[in-house]
């Protein structure tokens, strides 16, 4: 999981450049740019004294504001990604049907994905430690698929979702207790941002 968090962070960082280029973000999601003109206002006031320096400081100021805006956008996306990645969906033993609780969680993820159209997800299916490696791959795959089908029905395009099974190979909790087992019978998300 930590690794994927890192991957997501990297994807995030990589996407900053793209955010800078495209600049077509919906304004309501960017409170920072609204504040920008106000913050920039005092600068022109001091401008007449040294016009040459002024040009430079203006550019620097613009860059600073842009960086701030990107930072805010990055933080916002990271928060969303973290939210999606923390929305683990749990299953009953040897079952792949979605529980009511799972459907509620997935509806929230669906909402996010509908808003953030550049997000793509990898849905990972997992099982608990009981049973064979082979069958648990098929079981994890069924779980990931059920999640994908739900999100599809929610209106998320199939090409934005990829599913993979880790079987019992990537447990979240260690141990041979029902508590650990129930934590591991899950599907979780990995998020990427498409340009």
């Amino acid at each position: 999981m930590k690794l994927y968090a890192k991957i997501a962070m990297i994807s995030c960082a990589a996407s900053l450049a793209l955010v800078a280029c495209s600049k077509n973000n919906p304004p309501e999601t960017n409170p920072q740019p609204e504040a920008a003109p106000a913050a920039a206002a005092p600068a022109p006031a001091a401008a007449p004294a040294a016009p040459a320096v002024n040009e430079d400081s203006l550019a620097a100021e613009r860059a600073r504001l842009e960086a701030e805006r990107l930072e805010a956008e990055r933080a916002r996306l990271e928060a969303l990604i973290n939210q999606i990645m923390s929305e683990d969906v749990y299953f009953d033993f040897d079952r792949s049907e979605l529980t009511e609780k799972a459907k509620e969680l997935l509806a929230q993820v669906g909402e996010l994905l509908l808003k953030e159209t550049r997000f793509t997800v990898t849905i990972e299916g997992h099982t608990d430690a009981r049973g064979t490696e082979d069958y648990n791959f098929t079981l994890g795959a069924k779980r990931a698929m059920k999640v994908k089908e739900f999100l599809s029905a929610y209106g998320i395009e199939g090409k934005r979702m990829e599913s993979v099974s880790y079987g019992k190979e990537a447990p979240k909790a260690q141990g041979e207790t029902e508590e650990a087992y129930s934590q591991n019978r899950r599907a979780n998300f990995r998020v990427n941002i498409q340009p």
Binding site: D134, Y135, T138, A141, A144, E169
Partner: protein, 443 residues
């Protein structure tokens, strides 16, 4: 109310039962030792096959030998014990009275001498006890570290001489070992010695199976963040297999053609595919509505065992290699998985889950005559037949960690062959075809 009633009834019952048991114990205590002897006789009687007593005498040593490895008679003793075919009658020297008394019609011994330059010359002999007639004699000149393999080879030939079937002491196991927290594929001799690491990845490797002729292994690795099959010949490089398919695993090598049957999961649906590892081409093996995994070939590759979830839980099925004649094999219990066909062709071994614990069973191909081989000893998983069909290797966490064990095909004679770390998912190699040529190859 009801509960306490039940409880007290139960308690009364237990108390009276204990009383009866104590009474009987006191009554029959003097003859308990006879009963114990009886038990041993019965135990041998119900085993699937009879063991043959064989005498083993320490090798005569010539010249000074600093023993770093086990001495040859100890290696022979372990081979004989592991084989499930023999009962060792150990004797410090040839003892006809003892061998006769214990029905050891044959005995094994030999000579070992220091051949200089770090080499040992070892001669191994198989004699008829009564007449001291030499049935088999072999000579090997090897460094001490290779003595074990030379003795294994002699043991396999001696088994062929006595039983008419080659032994498996020269065969190997591939399995998964956690090294620095990552599952890696390793190979060792069948007795756990001479372990060597095959994969060295930062991502999980698993599910190793042997290529035909024991040339290399096929296994699964996660380096693409998805399970994918790879092959690697010993001493060669690794190649991805069938990259045109998503999420490939559960490999099964056709023992006749070398083709690979495997599972691939596409859009959440798992099917079996049959592929040629040379050409990289593969096609869907069976068009079924259910998910299918864990394929296993029959000894002549005419039929295939596999697991299907079409009843909502895993059960074992069999069908012809052309997809015909599909039928269900297991009906007892809700979770029967990973079947493997005995080399003799008459039975299958598989894993069954009951109350959350995995245990190993065998049954006939029509699902009848179920025999439970493991019980009350942690989880017991991933059974694999020895190529002679006499033994089953498996992994178990009965000791607290997962280790590899070997047992006889009737569940008797369980012996642990790995001792440290976490070791799982053994698969037994094929017979070494070049067993006779190998001797000349020894450096």
């Amino acid at each position: 109310m009801n509960f306490s009633n039940e409880d007290s009834k139960d308690m009364n019952y237990r108390n009276s039962l204990t009383g009866v048991l104590v009474f009987f114990f006191l009554l029959f205590a003097p003859i308990a030792s006879f009963a114990a002897i009886d038990t041993i006789a019965v135990d041998v009687g119900i085993s699937v096959f009879k063991t043959i007593p064989i005498g083993i005498v320490p090798f005569e040593e010539k010249g000074r030998i600093d023993w770093v490895e086990e001495q040859p008679h100890k290696i022979l003793t372990r081979d004989a014990n592991l084989s499930g075919r023999f009962d060792v009658v150990a004797s410090p020297k040839f003892d006809l009275a003892k061998f006769s008394r214990e029905h050891a019609d044959h005995y094994m011994t030999g000579k070992v001498e220091n051949a200089g330059a770090g080499m040992l010359r070892v001669q191994c002999f198989l004699y008829v006890s009564k007449s001291k007639t030499l049935r088999l004699g072999e000579s090997y000149t090897v460094p001490q570290k290779d003595l074990r393999r030379a003795v294994h080879e002699f043991f396999d030939k001696a088994t062929l001489t006595i039983c008419g079937e080659r032994g498996v002491a020269s065969t190997k196991l591939a399995y998964v070992s956690k090294i620095d927290g990552v599952k890696q594929v390793v190979v060792s001799d069948y007795d756990g010695f001479h372990r060597s690491q095959v994969t060295r990845d930062t991502t999980i490797s698993m599910m190793p199976v042997w290529k035909r002729g024991n040339k290399g292994l096929v296994y699964v690795n996660f380096k693409t963040h998805r399970p994918r099959l790879y092959e690697k010949n010993f001493g060669g490089a690794e190649h991805p297999l069938f990259p045109q398919f998503d999420q490939t695993y559960s490999p099964a090598v056709n023992p006749v053609t070398g083709e690979l049957l495997f599972s691939s999961t596409v859009d959440g649906k798992t099917d079996l595919y049959l592929g040629n590892t040379e050409t990289g081409k593969a096609r869907k093996f069976a068009y079924l509505k259910s998910n299918q995994t864990s394929p296993a070939w029959s000894p002549r590759a005419s039929e295939v065992l596999f697991t299907s979830d079409r009843g909502g839980s895993p059960q074992i099925f069999v069908m012809g290699r052309d997809g015909s004649d599909l039928r269900r094999v297991t009906f007892m219990g809700r979770y029967n998985e990973r079947a493997s066909w005995s080399p003799e062709g008459d039975r299958i071994v598989y894993t069954s889950m009951d109350n959350g614990k995995m245990n190993i069973y065998t049954c006939a191909l029509d699902g009848s005559d179920i025999v439970q081989l493991t019980n009350n000893a942690g989880n017991n998983e991933h059974p694999t037949w020895s190529p002679d069909g006499q033994l089953i290797a498996f992994s178990s966490n009965r000791s607290g960690t997962y280790q590899i064990y070997i047992m006889r095909k009737d569940g008797a004679n369980v012996t642990r062959i790995t001792n440290s770390g976490e070791n799982t998912a053994p698969t037994w190699s094929f017979f070494n075809e070049g067993i006779n040529n190998k001797k000349e190859g020894n450096k």
